[in-house]
Assembly symmetry: C2
Homo-oligomer: 354 residues x 2
DNA sequence: CGACGTCATGTAAGCGCTTGCACAAATTCG
DNA sequence: CGAATTTGTGCAAGCGCTTACATGACGTCG
């Protein structure tokens, strides 16, 4: 009795969710076909004003919510954009991500976020997983990664854009030249007359922006015939407490420094705090400069001389690049956002030169 | 010639992506059926060791990446979890989000993030849109929102959990009692002997945690027969600069205060900075306490007395709650994380009482 | 005024995967 | 040693949409 070898058209749907409203229901309620509903909802084809109204009514009445999976499967577009940042704990990336998200939500996109803790291998895994889940575009931070993963994205036709740096070649990017900015920052100190300059950099091994910034400092020194001895350089993760430690280490091991360039504002803030603890006057005895211009940088005492980076703009521009790419519109491969040196209270001529 | 009225089986796929590998391809390469491939990849049915190996080989050889949309459509599960936070600029939420993401990625989930800028109406829209895109669970912040949106989630069978506060009734939540914590914080000041206490709160109209914290302060005062006059209260957004402004306003308009309770550490930091500018000694002339224990709070000078909140733990626990719910495992409706009062340098007995 | 565009809709074929059911083969048991 | 499981696989029916193509109903011209 239970063996109808014919083709028993299995009840209805296998496990269709009970009261879930589908296009077909909306169509029936509006007295049209599913195709028309789809066209009306996506503006993907002509629909008479009258019918459009009826459909909208039906959508509201029934509380219809489209099924993204079905939509994505049929249209080959997920209306989702992914982003992989090192960490959200760094306000820079949080701001960039939030700005991108805002712009994308405006366009009806969903935003997938993943953090790689500055690990490129982890990044590759995350990208794979985002691609598997389905994304129409991807925002990345930094230019350092396994080229294979970019090839993978190209092969799948997923547009991507690198941020917070300018990428070489044909890799799309929106950012700025970290080396040049750091060079300018260090030059500011050199212009003031500093010669004994120490550096607290980020971890250049896993962070190409940190490496570029360090290179910029070296470049500035080189231009004046100076060189950064290994002793005057210390690399630490971007954390306030690390800045404190680093400052202590630098001062203990080094000849009398008159200025310190920090890889970012957190490190600089830590250095500033440690100076406070040690009773070192900034900038009178020691000038300290940071990079990024975080929220607190302008408020603290002494206010920090730093490089201002438009983190939100980076996010918005990256989002817009992808939006353009997805729509088939032309978009510049490289977008440069302008950073600027903000001279505040933490830097001044060295005492001896004063 | 182009009008075959019969049923022309349209070339092949309408616009199947060119070289995209599908289960069928893997199946063919492994010499099995697609069903078996699916079962092997999802461990959703018995597959002999031998065949499993062959399939894994084929997956690697062909570079197969499953199509999430198809998978979601067929299985009714998206393997994605969403989160809606007020903003990522507040390190608290960034940390909670990142912690949740980490836990979820471990389980193979994707993480969708949206920010509502403290607007409940915007939150409703975002939730709708996340639901449309497809999520298996949702993390929310705060308990204040249109109840209809929760009913919507219930109706769609999407489990959710509220964080950073304890929700009433049967709404799942992982957090702590903001009122009680703030009461303890204010009591600390009262215990020290303070009587003239001012408050710089967050915006209580759009932020139920801020409102709860303010209520806690009022409660502590009430217990000692004190009352918070309108003059001694000022509400500002959670920003450093706002804390500065608020401190100034409070001091200008109010009778000699000996202590100020701030709605969070950013506000407290701003207040501290303003004290520095005005030459007010903290804590000698004025005690200032914050809430949240952000990264900088323990480092600044004077180190901030505040309430420590395990932001990352909140994220992890919220993720675990959803994971359990999705798996059909039992999970506690309410999870309380413990917060603690951290007394540092910014609070001391009032000078007059000393 | 009939041959042609145009415009608005409907029809139905998938999108790439999961999974209920059927069934053959390998085990176990009475 | 045949019946009753217990595997391990394959078949094929969808999941809920989008969209190529077909179809009528109307103008519009030559």
């Amino acid at each position: 009795m239970k063996k109808k070898t014919g083709k028993p058209p299995r009840e209805t749907a296998r496990r269709r969710h009970p009261g879930r409203v589908r296009v077909e229901d909306v169509a029936r309620a509006a007295g049209v076909s599913g195709a028309t509903v789809s066209r009306a909802l996506n503006r993907s084809g002509p629909v008479s004003e009258d019918i459009r109204k009826r459909i909208e009514r039906a959508v509201l009445d029934l509380g219809y919510v489209p099924n993204g999976a079905a939509r994505a499967l049929a249209s080959h577009r997920t209306r989702a954009i992914g982003i992989v940042v090192p960490t959200l704990k760094n306000a820079n990336f949080a701001v960039t991500a939030e700005a991108a998200e805002g712009r994308l939500v405006e366009e009806g996109y969903t935003f997938l976020v993943a953090t790689n803790s500055y690990s490129t291998s982890r990044e590759s895994d995350l990208i794979q997983s985002l691609a598997a889940h389905g994304i129409d575009g991807l925002i990345l931070v930094g230019a350092q990664r396994d080229p294979a993963i970019l090839r993978f994205l190209d092969a799948r036709g997923i547009p991507y854009v690198v941020t917070w740096t300018l990428a070489r070649g044909d890799v799309p990017s929106v950012g700025f030249d970290n080396t040049e900015a750091a060079r300018r920052l260090a030059s500011h100190l050199l212009d003031l007359g500093h010669k004994q300059i120490g550096v607290i950099a980020g971890l250049t091994g896993s962070n190409d922006r940190a490496a570029a910034r360090l290179a910029g400092v070296r470049q500035a020194l080189g231009e004046r015939g100076l060189e950064l001895s290994q002793e005057l350089l210390i690399e630490r993760p971007y954390r306030i407490a690390e800045g404190q430690i680093a400052l202590g280490a630098l001062l203990d091991r080094a000849p009398p420094l008159t200025a310190i360039v920090c890889g970012n504002d957190q490190l600089a803030f830590g250095a500033l705090i440690e100076c406070g603890r040690r009773g070192i006057e900034v900038p009178d005895e020691l000038s300290i400069v940071g990079f990024d211009d975080l929220e607190f940088s302008s408020q603290i005492k002494p206010a920090l001389t730093t490089i201002h980076v438009p983190a939100a703009e980076i996010g918005v521009r990256a989002a817009e690049y992808l939006l353009a790419k997805i729509a088939g519109r032309p978009a510049p491969v490289t977008t440069t956002v302008s950073v600027s040196l903000i001279v505040r209270e933490s830097s001044s001529p060295p005492r001896t030169a004063a």
